[in-house]
Symmetry: C2
DNA sequence: GGCTGGCACTCTGTCCGTGCGAGTGCCAGC
DNA sequence: GCTGGCACTCGCACGGACAGAGTGCCAGCC
């Protein structure tokens, strides 16, 4: 029906205007700024219906309308075309990310880039350990009964743990141990590492068995735990843009939640590389994220998802632009890490 | 002279009251809350002198007085006894930091701990690479012409770099290379690593010389650069406490400067483990830190300083408390890292 | 000489009343 | 079903009045 069509058009216009001006938008302004082909009075009728359906609301009588979470949801799902990035932005992505020297650097640059492109808070997850495979395991003797275990994954992530051995370790045993561990675990997904331990113990020469047990259990227990997955956060200064007033009310819990990481990490777990996921306001179960929206996507390939990244901002954000930026950056980072 | 004595006492009282209430403090309130033994009128005379000397100022006529940067400076230098931590706080430090599994974890816990103890933004620097010594160098072949170089320092810090070799690398050469590098660099301070290269090249067998050159220059160039020293930041949510109004004016550049890291890193460079360094407001050259104070101290021992840590907050902060907390945490972290 | 009580003065923050403008809902007409 | 017109409702900005806090100064007292 032509009516519904136009009503949605009105909603789109409201979202766009409100996002760019931060003022509740009235019927007259809408008619002026958008070619809707009808008069303000007609728009008012449409607005009344939209309000009744819960897509928009007015802060108080005789102010303009503001989109609700439900309104943004409809906008994101049906009304927004993905906005392609400008050539300059694409170039910026490449220029910014090329020349990174290691994984830490890649992710640090990524988070700064995303924050700059979207002018929101950016979040990047380290490649998930449990999905990574072992490239190399290194054993270094630190003291008589103490070893340092270094894990290098195929994504370039490096993790280390100190292992205390109950008995003194013979210096001769270290290269043997290293060889054993690498032949057992190299190329194995960390999530599957636990399954390899029985085999490993079988093939281990008896004088090493105790040591191998200690080391491999440490490996599995402390490194495979997904709980230690890390997050890089940047652009928090963007939270201080504009909304100076409702600050310590809404911004502080948000900052706290971001620092906690655990909430955001859980959300990152649901992400995959093929679709950009948008969570709007109340849709976020966690209280501190009410009033905020997340735009997230996975990076890596469909066969080998590595982790997630995205932006956090007020529900009043440029969804099409942010979705495009997040997706483009994720693609580039995915390629970058696949190569190395 | 007894006059000067009391005048300083008045200044101390002003600082204490203002820090705890955030209201400009007047003569009457001072006389009530502190046992100065004189009447408000007398205090007013003292205040007039203090103002003339530049230690305090009034935001406008007929508001109370507020300490200036100079006033805080005098307070910190001469008027504040270091406030010992409570037993509960000491216990909290131990409980919080013990059980950390690796360096990243130690520093992450440290920053959270400091932020919580001081209710300010906490900053912890990774152990400086150039002051660290090499514990072990690991070489892993990633592809025919590509090696991964992993550096493990005596503080447990791990850094890695990809090295591209112009020629294909023989798999046999990798263990040789590893042995060579370790015998040359193990135990050497990273700052001195460059000096070892000529020796190293001399002893290297001719077929490895090209490779050794490439790898060791990468090592020195990209790892010894102090510029890549890292910072962990936490407790930014504390910035949103209280001062809701002057927020986007003063808080935003501060957040930006913290994310830049470079400014803070430079300040951390001047730190040493024996004294707590306090920088107040305008004393900070950098513009964004005007209006903020830093309380920093080094950790590690006098012979082996490792890095710095501290807190950043408004000039109106609890200096004695923060100094005590920063010092106590630095000591504990120093011990912790010295052990490992 | 230094401290104290008293007093006049100055300034800010707040409260209240008013007017204006934006925006709406409704209705009659096309 | 759209449009123009109109009355109505609010929020907000402006401005004056007021109260309160705090000061500086002065004369008197110890």
């Amino acid at each position: 029906m032509a009516h519904d069509e136009r009503r949605l058009e009105v909603l789109r216009a409201i979202v766009q205007d409100f996002v760019s001006t931060n003022d509740p938008v009235g019927s007259k302004a809408l008619a002026e700024r958008h070619d809707l082909g009808v008069s303000p009075a007609t728009i008012r009728n449409d607005m009344a219906v939209l309000e009744e359906q819960g897509y928009i609301t007015q802060p108080h009588t005789s102010a303009g309308r503001v989109p609700t979470d439900k309104g943004y949801r409809l906008f994101v799902d049906r009304l927004s075309a993905v906005k392609p990035l400008s050539a300059a932005e694409r170039r910026a992505i490449e220029r910014f990310l090329d020349g990174a020297v290691d994984l830490h650097d890649v992710l640090g640059r990524t988070v700064r880039l995303l924050a700059q492109l979207t002018r929101q808070v950016a979040v990047v997850q380290y490649p998930t350990l449990s999905r990574s495979t072992v490239r190399h395991l290194e054993v270094v003797q630190v003291a008589a009964g103490r070893l340092l275990l270094v894990l290098i994954t195929d994504t370039g992530r490096v993790e280390q743990r100190v292992v205390d051995s109950p008995v003194e370790v013979d210096a001769q045993a270290v290269p043997e141990l290293r060889a054993l561990l690498n032949s057992a675990f190299a190329g194995v997904k960390l999530a599957d590492a636990g399954d390899k331990i029985p085999d490993l113990l079988e093939t281990a020469p008896s004088h090493l068995r105790g040591l191998v047990t200690t080391v491999s259990t440490t490996l599995v227990e402390t490194l495979v735990e997904p709980s230690d997955d890390r997050l890089v956060i940047g652009g928090t200064a963007n939270l201080a843009r504009g909304n100076a007033m409702d600050f310590s009310g809404t911004m502080r819990p948000l900052l706290e939640a971001l620092e906690e990481q655990v909430v955001v990490l859980r959300l990152m777990g649901e992400v995959d590389p093929s679709t950009v996921l948008v969570r709007i306001g109340e849709e976020n179960a966690h209280e501190a994220l009410t009033g905020a929206s997340l735009v997230t996507v996975g990076y890596g390939s469909a066969e080998r998802p590595l982790g997630g990244l995205g932006v956090v901002g007020p529900t009043r954000m440029d969804y099409p632009g942010n979705m495009a930026a997040v997706r483009a950056v994720a693609r580039y980072v995915g390629h970058l890490l696949a190569e190395s």
